[in-house]
């Protein structure tokens, strides 16, 4: 069972800010889902490989050539943050401890 503290830790890992009361609300819902998926434990998977791709494609590579997709200005136009010298200006990443 996930405790309130664990939910808060997961939220930090997922970069989700939780509002007051949300950890309690999600705790019950998440635990019922995890309880349900526990039934996978009863399946014998000895000898079964893990599937991550269902049609069997492997190592698809593209031609090593340059092609234009979008222009820089079109991509920068989608941000709501200030743009300076062709770059998006964000808050400081490293702050004082």
């Amino acid at each position: 069972m996930l405790s309130k503290k664990e939910i808060e830790h997961i939220a930090v890992l997922a970069r989700l800010g939780l509002k007051d009361g949300e950890a309690e609300k999600f705790s019950g819902q998440l635990n019922s889902i995890l309880e349900y998926v526990k039934q996978l434990e009863e399946v014998n998977t000895d000898g079964a490989t893990a599937t991550s791709q269902v049609t069997g494609l492997e190592n698809v590579s593209r031609e090593d050539s340059v092609s234009r997709f979008c222009y820089k200005d079109e991509l920068l136009a989608t941000t709501e943050l200030p743009v300076e010298r062709g770059q998006i200006k964000v808050k400081p990443v490293i702050t004082e401890l």
Partner: protein, 487 residues
């Protein structure tokens, strides 16, 4: 009535000059303005854009006589998950509620290239997570057959728009049932293609090893027409294999005499609504009357598919949605933030709805150190066993027939606070995405409350042609697809 036509009929009318694409488009926009206030299928209406595309289509039709695509000039709608250059694409989420993409999804370019006319963008559960569109940031889509009930989801807007004759066809996405379930609940035809059959470039990713793109239409013939236009390899989507695209309309109308149809016993057991089962049994009898050989088969790992899905899907979703950080695109936080990490917390807390937060947290948890093997790896292994089930059964039979949804359309609000009970609405559609095989949802009757019931026809990988043939044979022998919700 002009809005009740199928693609094939509308296309024939355009070629015979009974009406122009501009006239057809104006008629559909009027229809939307009349009906959609009750249904809420469209989240963005692109009237000027549609009329300009229609004028272009009329010029193309004038020049090409009988050549060109049957989709040319025929108005449609797109689930709001497909990037449309210059037209807002929100995934029905607050986090990108004003996002205008700088490029078109590959399928959108393909349709535009054939002269299609886009009426607007359609409602969905936020980031395609849900089975009712109740998780949309822009309100629920109502079922055209009973406005107090859900249209299904996540492609609920697409299904409702087609069922209520507000678009001749729509595109949706299907990760665990999101095309087939709403199609079934609204009495539309919905096709979930083989994984990789249709490009997903420019379509916001939900769970990348499960996602697929496909059409919602009024008839099986129309589904074949749309699939023809969008199927094939795309260098921008490395999961599209180089498998030839057959002529999907070629075998439609052919007899299904001697075809072996399997009925997996796991899909007809506990939890299925009595009236849904009854409609299916009648439909199966009709398939037998058409000459098909029906036998009971077993897919023993079926019962684990939902559990596999609710481990693997949130894991992939949490990784995919990590890109929504409010920097390159998407909304800024409403309050002051001190640093970057605080910025992420606020943007994502304000921008994502509860269902997305739940799934991101489940995904983050099952991928975290110490739990990866127990949850994610285990689920991927059970997935392999489910795939083997399908491989084995297709040695015995040509295709499978099952219900699409165990229950007809449920009441708005009935399941929204109980995530697990909502997830179980997809119990018959999720295993198909597990195995990456194609499946078609075809209308096959109504309950005593006049709620639509859908039949699911499942085939081996890349055999869309086969399931379309079966669906078409059934459709031609029945009248269900002609019923209208009376809006």
């Amino acid at each position: 009535m002009m809005h009740e036509l199928t693609i094939a009929q509308a296309s024939a009318g355009l070629r015979k000059k009974e009406f122009s694409s501009v006239e057809l488009t104006k008629h559909m926009l009027e229809r939307i303005n009349k009906v959609d206030p009750q249904v809420n299928a469209f989240v963005t209406l692109t009237e000027d854009f549609a009329l300009s595309q229609a004028a272009d289509a009329d010029r193309t039709l004038e020049k090409s006589e009988n050549g060109g695509s049957l989709l040319c000039g025929v108005p449609m709608g797109l689930k709001d998950i497909f990037n449309t250059k210059g037209v807002k694409t929100t995934c029905c989420s607050q986090i990108i509620s004003d996002f205008v993409p700088p490029y078109d999804a590959t399928v959108v370019s393909k349709l535009t290239g054939l002269g299609s006319v886009m009426l607007g963008k359609l409602n969905m559960d936020e980031f395609a997570c849900g089975s009712s569109t109740e998780h949309s940031a822009f309100g629920v889509t109502k079922n055209p057959w009973d406005l107090s009930r859900v249209a299904g989801g996540s492609s609920g807007g697409s299904a409702a728009a087609v069922a209520a004759d507000m678009a001749y066809y729509a595109l949706g996405t299907d990760t665990g049932g999101s095309i087939r379930q709403p199609a079934s609940l609204c009495s539309a035809v919905g096709l979930k293609v083989t994984y990789g059959r249709v490009s997903r470039s420019g379509v916001t990713a939900m769970a990348s090893s499960w996602d697929s793109v496909g059409p919602l239409t009024k008839t099986v013939q129309d589904a074949a027409l749309v699939l023809q236009a969008i199927a094939g390899m795309d260098k921008r989507d490395s999961t599209t294999p180089n498998v030839p695209v057959p002529d999907y309309s070629k075998n439609l109308g052919e007899s299904i005499k001697g075809l072996k149809i399997g009925l997996p016993k796991e899909y007809f057991g506990e939890g299925i609504d009595k009236e849904v089962e009854k409609a299916l049994r009648v439909a199966i009898k009709q398939l037998e009357d058409l000459g098909a050989q029906v036998k009971e088969v077993s897919l023993p790992y079926t019962k684990y598919a939902v559990a596999v899905y609710y481990v693997a899907m949130p894991a992939e979703l949490s990784a995919n949605l990590a890109r929504f950080d409010g920097i390159r695109y998407g909304s800024k936080p409403s309050g002051d933030v001190k640093d970057m990490i605080d910025y992420y917390y606020q943007v994502r807390s304000e921008g994502f709805g509860d269902e997305i937060k739940r799934r991101i947290m489940i995904g983050t948890y099952v991928l975290s150190a110490g739990y990866y093997d127990a949850y994610y790896k285990k689920a991927q292994k059970v997935r392999t066993l489910i795939i083997r089930d399908f491989e084995n059964v297709f040695k015995e039979v040509d295709c499978l027939v099952t219900p699409v949804s165990p229950i007809p359309a449920f009441k708005i609000g009935e399941k929204v606070d109980s995530p697990l009970s909502m997830y179980l609405a997809d119990v018959f559609t999720i295993p198909i995405n597990c195995a990456g095989v194609p499946a078609l949802s075809v209308p096959c009757g109504f309950t005593s409350d006049n709620l639509p019931v859908g039949m699911q026809i499942i085939g081996p990988q890349f055999r869309e042609d086969l399931i379309l043939k079966v669906g078409s044979a059934y459709e031609q022998a029945t009248e269900w697809h002609k019923s209208k919700p009376g809006l």
